[in-house]
């Protein structure tokens, strides 16, 4: 079984992050928690742009980071793709060039054709020649999705991907993500503070509060026995915007 295993301690200033979890392939783990809990640091540790103080991260038998063994793969070698909250599309490149960026970086000769195929899959082929500043929020986030997936990551991380979108758009984009997650063969991590995202997309949930895991399980399990006051508040937010 190809599991994503993470066991990390990250120094953060206010409180350290100390988290341990594992995830099976083709599964989606939602990481939820209040602002400042450490979710983004965890994303950074997985992707490689936040330094891990102590711990290990493995994808299957591939060691991405192991402080004891002195292993720390650079970002570009980890194959951990991230969709950021504010998309971070390269402003000087067209949509097509943005989506082709990942494949081209690893030397793929048909990077452009590959990118065009992804634009098709997400229904945004018509945007190919536009620049990010010309796109609406929903369009930009779809392009960001295409860009990350086209790079064929083994771990797919979505960091609050819908938080900047309008309500109506959010539902649409979320539905598309659900569609593509269905055919994604790697591990997916979804960071969110919105219970609707969790319900729509996640197989399992990890709750982080003040840098520590406060509960782990399926959504049903957590709903049945919420472990903390925050989780109770989170669950009761279901259906409200």
């Amino acid at each position: 079984m190809n599991r994503l295993v993470a066991d990390v301690r990250v120094a953060r200033g206010s409180f350290d992050l100390d988290v341990s979890f594992s995830l099976g392939e083709r599964r989606t783990l939602a990481i939820v928690g209040p602002n400042g809990a450490g979710k983004s640091s965890l994303v950074g540790a997985l992707a490689g742009f936040v330094e891990v103080g102590e711990g290990r991260i493995l994808v299957g038998d591939r060691v991405i980071s192991d402080t004891a063994a002195g292993i720390d793969l650079p970002m570009d070698k980890r194959r951990v793709g991230v969709v950021f909250q504010d998309h971070l599309l390269f402003p000087h490149l067209t949509v097509l060039q943005n989506v082709a960026f990942g494949p081209r970086s690893v030397g793929r000769e048909d990077a452009v054709a590959h990118a065009a195929a992804w634009l098709d899959r997400l229904g945004i082929a018509s945007l190919a020649a536009q620049h990010p500043r010309q796109l609406s929020g929903g369009q930009a986030q779809r392009v960001a999705l295409a860009r990350t997936l086209a790079a064929e990551p083994s771990v797919f991380v979505l960091d609050e991907p819908f938080a900047s979108l309008d309500v109506e758009v959010r539902d649409e984009v979320r539905a598309e993500v659900a569609l593509h997650l269905g055919s994604f063969t790697g591990h997916t991590i979804l960071v969110s503070h919105d219970i609707d995202d969790v319900a729509a997309l996640a197989d399992e949930v990890l709750v982080i509060e003040s840098g520590r895991v406060s509960q782990r399980g399926t959504l049903a399990e957590i709903q049945a026995t919420p472990a903390t006051a925050y989780i109770r508040r989170l669950l009761s937010g279901r259906g409200e915007n």
């Binding site: 650079p74 570009d76 951990v80 971070l88 390269f90 000087h92 960026f101 970086s105 690893v106 860009r147």
Partner: protein, 261 residues
């Protein structure tokens, strides 16, 4: 915008534009073709444009990396950080002649580095075209460094993180993301550098001297000409202005946009 601002703004505009108008009006238009076709004029022009171009290239090669170092100095402790910034800015506030004297003390025949160069390799720098480029680089490179550094500070470093997660190595990220994003800042810096180098006088004449075809750049030739034939000096001044305008106009808008960012 309060309408009263037009008064000082109008004066400022006048201060900038009227001297140029004066030059154009007083120019000896009838003699211009003859004055400008003199070999000394073409020589000085060629030397000025050539050295300024070399200076810009040198400043790009050395100054862009320095800009990166300067931009990363925000993480340093206070004393080294401020020292770094002061050192880069010094040529901007130094009177050019003083800069020329400093260069002589360093690279002149009896200079700290110049003397060993002369004793061991027989290389002397003053009175050569290389000296002109060095003098120009000393005064003009800081413009480029500060412009590029400004662009770096203003750019979002998270784009580089995004590029990394997409599989781009550090060098690929630098080449395909960082550089294009700061290109307007580099363009504006290069433009400032070129025009400053073109007009450089004090450091050049002190360090490199003045010899036609070798070190007598257009500003120096103009100054000398003013004492002998003011009409010729006006003609040379017009040439300098035209060259500057051509440079400004031939660059694309998005490069000069960097000047205002």
């Amino acid at each position: 915008m309060p309408p009263a601002l037009w008064i000082p703004a109008g004066i400022a505009l006048g201060l900038l534009v009227l001297p140029l108008l004066g030059l154009i009006i007083r120019a000896p238009w009838a003699q211009l073709p003859e004055l400008l076709s003199r070999p000394t004029v073409l020589q000085a022009l060629g030397l000025s444009v050539g050295t300024a171009g070399l200076t810009t290239v040198l400043s790009l090669l050395l100054g862009v990396p320095l800009a990166f170092v300067l931009a990363s100095s925000v993480d340093w402790p206070a004393v080294p950080r401020r020292l770094m910034r002061a050192l880069v800015t010094v040529p901007l506030v130094l009177p050019p002649v003083v800069g020329g004297v400093a260069l002589l003390l360093l690279l002149g025949r009896r200079g700290l580095i110049g003397q060993p160069l002369d004793d061991w390799f027989g290389i002397t720098i003053p009175f050569t075209t290389a000296a002109v480029v060095i003098a120009q680089t000393f005064v003009a490179m800081p413009f480029l460094v500060l412009s590029v550094e400004g662009a770096l500070r203003a750019s979002d470093r998270r784009f580089e993180i995004a590029a990394g997660t997409l599989g781009a190595s550090r060098f690929t990220t630098f080449r395909r993301v960082t550089l294009p994003l700061i290109a307007p800042g580099i363009g504006a810096g290069a433009l400032l550098c070129f025009t400053r180098a073109l007009g450089e006088f004090g450091a050049t004449i002190t360090f490199a001297g003045s010899f036609p075809g070798v070190t007598q750049t257009l500003p120096i030739a103009t100054y000398l000409e003013l004492q002998r034939d003011p009409d010729a000096a006006i003609a040379l001044s017009l040439v300098l202005i035209v060259v500057s305008i051509v440079v400004l106009v031939s660059l694309r808008d998005r490069w000069t946009a960097g000047l205002s960012s």
